[in-house]
Symmetry: C2
């Protein structure tokens, strides 16, 4: 028995996969973005028990092509505009394939010198691209959820260093502040860290969906007076619903006044901040304690790859440093990436990002971001000037939130109309949108950010939106 | 400007990567396991700033081959016996390459029907392979650190449901029990969850490095009397240092008596438990509340892929369910994997595991595991009967912990000798070992578990060990 696939068989299967991947990217538009499958249909196509005997790898690949690929939601489809911009770009896919073969666990410098040092270097490249001071050091996590959890764990460690040994029970009740537009990962972090949802203060945002500094300051004062211990503020540089940017500079001042940790969620729009004009929308970013930017969002890197930039990596080490005997090494003053967080195992994620940055270059990445924003701006302009539609929020980056208007209808009726409109659009096949609620009202979202999305696709989605709205309107009038 | 790599260029680069990966796996033995690089050397070979202009993808791949690959610690090398068995097998590498191209985020059923349902199916396949009751449902996390953190979060939720809203401050002081051989992830979880290191009771293990049930029971009684709230026991089915298995049945009884959550760390040896004779060493496993098994350890799946089997997934949902408007769907009673943990983003990790199980078959996987254990058993036998060496612990699976003996030397001198012995062995190139401390004494570890490791390699490492020990002994006598 050959232990792994016989070398020749593997080599030819790898070439077949090369063809499958290249074909997929060229032909993905032939699929509907959302597959025509009902819940349970994929499961029903798979045997309930594992095969006793091994099967030829070509049969497995055939089944992938027949059963799995067509039942995917195609995030790499140019019509995928539902969720925050992601592209698994060519250079990124090449990087992931190589990383899988290396199969390294970069927990210690010793277990992966190149992965450790490339991660530090590539994070520093991105730091420079974001015009952040050298005081920030970056490391890669799987998701923004984990990057944010770690940032808040560092904040907890700073405020109450006894947490590490004693835990939170018996300690101060620590509070976190963010706007009502902030990502759900803040709440999940508060649960995980034992701080509790009740300690997350969701400050009402303003008309443009931005944190109101005066309300933030008031909430902190109120909590201080009530005996709480304010711990951190999470400000957004690009919210999930609309891309709105909180007034960072004003938030910085408040955080300084009260010694609060400032974590900035730039997971999405941090990508755009590699362009000076978008970085300018985030003035004060450089004053944060920590910032999360996800290259797997708008920097063309396959999922997962989230970078936490942190001014105080020693606080993470202080919180999480646990060194069992079998991981002790005598390599001297090296970075052991496992010391910076919860997970011991660590994939070689910097490889794909390195390949993306090198293949596209900083200028090339900027051009791609600008093109996405241009397309979003074009669509926003069309919506603004089209009768029967309105923008629901400003469009600082490439998320267009809008709604169809119904003359003389109640807000509720209008919401229902838009909900039905989205269902019709998504059922059509070539595009997938998502929704949100802003100021309590239902809105549709077009998120542009895939490298394969061109002006043609954005024009087509706008045609489809108008066409489906007109059809729905006609149905409504006919009733 | 083509937004992604031009299709033809990508296709040919993907074929080049296919060749590079196949070559790597065939030729990896030509590298030393640990590269001849000093800290900082890789970093020094990389430009301090990112390239402004994009570069040809072939140049990037050339640099990968010249700068990165040779500076890796080669986990896929047949002589990599340092850390817990991992192989990035051929089928797994093919799966990762396909997953990178799909680039799906399986947070919701809607965002990835096939990835959601394949994950459920493949976890259930493994459940059957492990002879666990259907009451366990599995889901995939990145690492055992996260699987364990989630298991302990569920335990926390069960003991103190107010945690979600109120947090731990003001709540009961909850305690966790494990042996002194348990993985560091328990401690990291206790820190992250706000429970605190002081609340982790490390129970002294017995001569064979297994949890002592009577000491566990006594510690719980003592804590109860002192007003603590015992929360969970983490038992090991295969410790990191030696693979020792705690007496699970006795631990189950204690947990039942006190209503404690029983989490079992089978991250490593859970792989072996697909063979009836190794599963038999874990009697009582089926009675746990949760179990972590890492296919990226001993089931030939590239890192990362850790499965948490859980009898109470609703407790995880209860703890972590947070649903922002933009993620609401009307798909009915579907599984949305994001509800089961902290992370929202979720790679399509089940694909590679599915491909491994199908390509090798259950029988094929069992044969591979048995061969690794046979090789470890052979080496253990050699060590046992060789003058000047001794086994430091029983060898239930494929971790061989041993030491060289020095007649008439102190424990300290012997420790130092073994430390130097390991450094010499690792410096030789074709093999990499690691160490641990057992009962306070330094031991070397040979971990067998790579598909490319054959009897030839194990014989070679045993030759090298004896040869280096003899050389060291001669030096010592010459002084």
């Amino acid at each position: 028995m050959s232990a792994d696939l016989p070398p020749d068989e593997f080599r030819s299967a790898m070439h077949r996969v090369a063809e499958m991947v290249a074909d997929y990217l060229e032909e993905v538009e032939e699929y509907p973005v959302f597959p025509a499958v009902a819940p349970g249909e994929v499961a029903a196509s798979l045997p309930v028990s594992p095969p006793v005997e091994g099967e030829p790898i070509d049969r497995v690949l055939d089944d992938y092509k027949a059963l799995i690929e067509p039942a995917m939601t195609h995030w790499n489809h140019p019509g995928f505009m539902a969720y925050i911009a992601t592209t698994g770009s060519g250079p990124g896919i090449l990087g992931e394939s190589l990383a899988a073969a290396l199969n390294a666990n970069a927990m210690l410098w010793r277990t992966s010198p190149a992965a450790t040092e490339l991660e530090e270097r590539v994070c520093d490249w991105l730091r420079q691209m974001l015009d952040l001071p050298a005081a920030f050091s970056g490391h890669i996590n799987d998701t923004a959820s984990m990057s944010t959890l770690l940032a808040l764990a560092a904040a907890r460690q700073r405020l109450y260093p006894e947490t590490r040994r004693k835990g939170v029970a018996g300690g101060p009740v620590m509070t976190i502040y963010c706007s009502d537009q902030t990502h759900s990962s803040i709440e999940k972090s508060a649960i995980a860290l034992g701080l509790g949802l009740d300690q997350v203060r969701k400050i009402e945002s303003d008309g443009d969906l931005r944190l109101r500094p005066e309300k933030l300051a008031a909430a902190i004062e109120e909590d201080l007076a009530a005996g709480f211990h304010p711990m951190a503020v999470v400000a957004c540089a690009g919210t999930t619903s609309t891309g709105s940017v909180d007034p960072i500079r004003a938030v910085v001042d408040i955080c300084r006044r009260h010694c609060l940790w400032l974590h900035i969620d730039a997971a999405y729009a941090g990508g755009a901040a590699i362009c000076a004009e978008y970085r300018a929308l985030m003035e004060g970013l450089e004053e944060a304690d920590s910032i999360v930017v996800n290259p797997h969002k708008w920097l063309f890197t396959p999922v997962d790859c989230s970078i936490l930039f942190n001014r105080h990596p020693d606080l993470l080490r202080e919180a999480f440093w646990v060194l069992p005997e079998y991981l002790k090494t005598d390599d001297g003053a090296v970075t052991n990436l496992m010391d910076l967080g919860v997970q011991l195992g660590k994939r070689f994620r910097s490889l794909k990002l390195w390949m993306v940055i090198r293949a596209f270059g900083v200028r090339g990445m900027q051009e791609r971001i600008r093109e996405h924003c241009r397309l979003a701006g074009w669509l926003a302009g069309e919506i603004e000037s089209a009768p029967g539609f309105e923008l629901a929020a400003p469009v600082p980056f490439a998320i267009v939130a809008f709604r169809a208007r119904l003359d003389g209808a109640s807000g509720e009726q209008e919401d229902e109309f838009n909900e039905r409109l989205m269902a019709r659009i998504n059922a059509a096949g070539p595009v997938m949108l998502s929704h949100s609620k802003l100021h309590g009202r239902y809105v549709l979202r077009v998120v542009i950010g895939n490298l394969r999305t061109t002006e043609k696709h954005v024009r087509a989605v706008w045609r489809l939106i108008r066409q489906e709205a007109a059809a729905l309107l006609a149905e409504r009038k006919a009733v």
